[in-house]
């Protein structure tokens, strides 16, 4: 996937400004940066949820707007940041929607097997017949991600998937992201607030500041004292733990 000079304005204010970068296939790419830097807007534009004003999103060699939406939904799945579902659905029903691009209204036995696997991946077996509005925020978040897993796409886009999760589930979430990439060969693009999760679990990091890409590169290239201090405007120290550059800020 290649993003070229992507720009978006809201009410005359440029919130994403000529963003260009290429997403390496089969890797985990994390987008980091302060609130309002434009990460969600970029995620929305590269997944055709938000129309861009200018620039190009090229997906598998073809302009994303030229893809048939049904075809695209088998290749690319996105979980947005705010998804407060009002509807009374069970976890299993929600996860089943992930199979919609493939099977429409009929769930085949293969679909059921894939749904079972997605539920197991997110450790939701015990909750699968509970209504999602009777679950905690974190369980609901995991159910949403299980749906995206059931959608079984090459590209998975997750906007702040660790939001609402406790340390156990957030860490598990990141391990699952890693497994989606390592075991299933998926390309995972995610927005993260925890820099250390990004540093520990991703292959590449794209750091945003004020609607532009401040830095894009491997974890080692981006996670440096100078870069982070510049992007977040706070003081950073970088420690090398388990071969990864982890940061503390104060």
């Amino acid at each position: 996937m290649r993003i070229h000079e992507l720009t978006k304005q809201y009410d005359g204010k440029t919130v994403v400004d000529a963003v260009s970068f290429s997403i390496p296939k089969g890797k985990v790419i994390s987008l980091i940066g302060p609130n309002g830097a434009g990460k969600s807007t970029v995620m929305g534009m590269i997944s055709r949820l938000i129309a861009h004003d200018s620039g190009l999103v090229e997906f598998e060699g073809k302009d994303i707007g030229k893809w048939k939406s049904k075809e695209l939904s088998k290749r690319l799945a996105i979980l947005t940041q705010s998804n407060n579902i009002q509807m009374k659905l069970t976890v299993r029903e929600l996860v089943s929607f992930g199979r919609f691009p493939y099977s429409g209204n009929r769930i085949t036995p293969e679909d059921s097997a894939i749904i079972d696997r997605a539920i197991a991946y997110m450790e939701l077996e015990a909750f699968q017949d509970r209504f999602i509005d009777e679950l905690s925020g974190g369980q609901r978040q995991r159910a949403m991600i299980a749906m995206v897993i059931a959608q079984d796409t090459e590209y998975v886009l997750l906007d702040e998937p660790t939001n609402n999760l406790d340390i156990y589930h957030a860490t598990n979430m990141m391990k699952i992201v890693r497994r989606l990439c390592d075991e299933l060969g998926k390309t995972v693009i995610l927005v993260l607030h925890e820099i250390n999760y990004a540093a520990f679990y991703s292959d590449y990091i794209c750091a945003f500041k004020n609607g532009s890409v401040a830095k894009f590169g491997t974890v080692e290239e981006v996670i440096t004292k100078e870069n982070l201090s510049d992007i977040y405007q706070v003081d950073f120290e970088i420690l090398n733990i388990a071969g990864k550059p982890l940061s503390i800020y104060y």
Partner: protein, 359 residues
């Protein structure tokens, strides 16, 4: 995964149990209703070939029953579709201006084509009902009310404005008498040869069932739909059109019947959730049962006269609706579980996983 599939099967059986009970009750009451009326019909006389009785049966009793079933099924399914698409539990043909728009269409047909047949009136009603519903939904999508209760209030106001225009026109052109029959729904004029349009609800409801999952997904929002490759606007407009056509084909034949589209889907959802693939059949059956019971009450309370169905539905419906509101105020949208406490699956030791999750 073997245990899981057995478990899923148990859930499935639990799910269809209510459907079977509803279908059984509906069947029994339907048969009973065929033999309630001013003129005594008996099954024995019918089977021995009493021609007079047979003719009453075929021209009046049976059409009436079919119209009742179609009305109950149609209005409740139309309400269900509208609620799902707008993801608002208070939207319905009554609170979404669909019924009043259909009435305006009928009046326009009466004005412009005094000789109009049932069919041409129906076409006018289709057009206005679809148009009115579209405008209403376009409006509520534009405004994006924070409070869900605002939506039906706006719908009721919008419906009253259309109703006002209808009354004004009817008054101006001396049509109040003619229009009265469509303002208050009743089944007493349902006779063979002049009610068959109501059968249209059957194919339309079948169509709704085929698109049930599309409606579910659209109800989950624009981003959710796009992610799954569902064309949000197309499905939204098709679904609304379907609901409006169902409503109009009923209003043209029996007149306005309120509340059913509002309360029936809500009652069913309390037990079975909001996945309309799982609730559509139950909603349709329960709607038919509800209208049938109301009709039978209307026919026996002041026997040998009868009360219009709209009156009975209005009284029962508003009581149930108030009950629903109180239940929701007290319990939120917590599901009512039938039979054994919760679906047994949740009794596993999950507390360890849940610890500190609410952070």
């Amino acid at each position: 995964m073997l245990t899981n599939s057995i478990h899923q099967e148990a859930i499935f059986i639990k799910g269809i149990r209510s459907t079977l009970i509803l279908a059984g009750a509906l069947m029994a009451l339907s048969v009973l209703s065929l033999f309630v009326g001013v003129i005594d019909l008996t099954p024995a006389a019918l089977f021995t070939g009493n021609l007079e009785q047979l003719s009453i049966f075929l021209t009046s009793r049976l059409p009436r029953l079919l119209a009742i079933l179609c009305t109950g099924i149609g209005m409740s399914v139309a309400g269900l579709i509208m609620q799902q698409l707008c993801s608002n539990k208070f939207v319905s043909p009554t609170t979404g201006a669909t019924i009043s728009s259909a009435q305006l269409g009928i009046l326009l047909a009466l004005l412009f084509m005094p000789q109009s047949t049932l069919w041409s009136r129906a076409i006018f009603a289709f057009a206005t009902a679809v148009g009115g519903t579209w405008i209403f939904v376009w409006f509520i999508q534009r405004i994006q009310f924070k409070d869900a209760v605002m939506v039906p209030l706006v719908g009721i106001m919008f419906g009253n404005v259309i109703g006002g225009i209808t009354s004004y026109l009817a008054y101006q052109y001396d049509m109040t008498q003619a229009l009265a029959s469509w303002l208050v729904g009743h089944f007493s004029l349902v006779l063979k040869g002049r009610y068959e349009i109501v059968w249209l609800t059957v194919p339309l409801v079948v169509l709704a069932f085929l698109f049930a999952n599309h409606f579910n997904i659209v109800g989950l929002g624009k981003d959710f739909s796009k992610n799954l490759g569902v064309p949000y606007n197309v499905v939204l407009f098709l679904g609304l059109t379907l609901a409006a056509m169902i409503t109009a084909s009923i209003v043209v034949v029996v007149g306005a019947i309120s509340y059913i589209g509002l309360i029936v889907p809500n009652v069913v959802a309390m037990f079975k959730g909001d996945n309309i693939r799982g609730t559509l059949v139950d909603t349709a059956l329960f709607g038919a049962l509800f209208v049938l019971v109301c009709d039978m009450i209307g026919r026996v309370v002041i026997f040998p006269y009868e009360l219009p169905i709209e009156l009975i539905v209005g009284i029962l419906g508003s009581l149930i609706f108030i009950g629903l509101l109180f239940y929701r105020l007290k319990h939120g949208r917590k599901a009512v579980r039938l039979g054994s406490p919760s679906s047994s699956s949740c009794s596993c030791p999950v507390s360890a996983l849940e610890g500190g999750e609410e952070a």
